[in-house]
Subunit: 221 residues, 2 copies
Amino acid sequence: MHRFAVIGLGRFGSRLAANLAASGHEVIGIDRDTALIEELRDRVTLAISLDATDEQALIAQGVDKVDTAIVGIGNNFEAIALTTVVLKQLGVPRVISRAVTPTSAKILAKIGADEVVNPEDESADRWANSLITPQFRNHLELDPQHSIVEIQTPDDWRGKNLIELNLRVEYNIHVVAIKRRKPDQPEHVPPSVMIPDPTSALRENDILVLMGADKDLAKTV
Amino acid sequence: MHRFAVIGLGRFGSRLAANLAASGHEVIGIDRDTALIEELRDRVTLAISLDATDEQALIAQGVDKVDTAIVGIGNNFEAIALTTVVLKQLGVPRVISRAVTPTSAKILAKIGADEVVNPEDESADRWANSLITPQFRNHLELDPQHSIVEIQTPDDWRGKNLIELNLRVEYNIHVVAIKRRKPDQPEHVPPSVMIPDPTSALRENDILVLMGADKDLAKTV
Ligand SMILES: Nc1ncnc2c1ncn2[C@@H]1O[C@H](COP(=O)(O)OP(=O)(O)OP(=O)(O)O)[C@@H](O)[C@H]1O
Ligand SMILES: Nc1ncnc2c1ncn2[C@@H]1O[C@H](COP(=O)(O)OP(=O)(O)OP(=O)(O)O)[C@@H](O)[C@H]1O
């Protein structure tokens, strides 16, 4: 069972703290804003109002004993940086600190952050990818040049089966799974995930889970 | 070629606008803060300082002609809501609006938003998952009960091949790919993605890309 501290309970920090606690882990939530502490009190193990840059206050609350600390302060780089340094000095094994710019990310890494998190940029990157390639309904990056993606069955693949389509030779891609609706399945139930049967003809609403090089996957849309 | 408008150029909006423009799409960036407009001017097609709730100003700048508008304003629900209504009235086909809470998400959907985005919550959810199950180094959700995940080769699987491990029968999971380092590959180069050879023994540093039901995948760690 892992012990966490989340310091800075804005939108990112409070959501993270509540999620971690909801999955059964011990979570200390820290913020100098007492209203936020009251709001989060029932959803974490311990919620304390204090200034995160106050080393003695952190020790008094056992923050030095956690396994992982996440600094979710947003608008005050000095506070993020100082809190990061203090946490590492207190011996916290893993400190994840919020970086709002690439420069602050570099600085935080240099002063001890084990990882950096930038919630707005990470979300913007994902949304940009889904807007740039809307045909990829889902995406896992295997490496910078290979992915697993989900696509709707292209019109000219409908009615053909995987043996006829010969995707490995034609496109150098693999069909990892097919999501197909069963005949009388209600709309709100997600389609069933199936291992592809190479002899079964693809249907209009099938969702294909494909794996391959990004340049090859791009040719399917 | 898709035409976008990004309204509200804070951390999320400016990153999204710059990413979309960098991939070759036409992007109109809008914010009432002239300093932000200056900062983004070279990285988007058109950057305009105006108040997004001003319908006439939006029409004058051609915002009514875009395919997709993203409202990235954060701290002012009234402005997000009003801008959303105005954009739909102007006939913008797809409007993605920022919701900071579940309640605002419901309201925005009711008043016309085609989708909602909540950058801090989306990022917090991803980070929580990776902190709760650190053994899953990557994750794609196929549906609420099935996933594709990456794991380090478990110790007791090392030296065995996939035929011996018989994962389909033992765990009801499939190995979709294996990431393996080549003997003299430098550290900074990612391991190569390979289709699994069922007769090849798994090695200590192999990363296995597995697919199955979440409850079955959980048994591998
Ligand atoms: N020195 C500090 N000690 C404790 N808490 C702090 C300190 N400085 C800032 N905080 C808290 O960190 C929280 C998040 O920081 P802030 O609101 O500046 O960033 P934000 O980018 O708006 O956050 P979010 O995007 O997650 O809502 C706030 O609730 C604030 O009270
Ligand atoms: N009516 C409006 N018209 C145009 N721009 C607006 C309007 N209201 C707010 N904005 C702009 O939206 C941008 C983002 O909003 P805000 O800073 O309130 O949210 P935030 O949550 O801090 O954003 P982020 O997390 O993306 O940095 C700001 O740059 C602000 O100037």
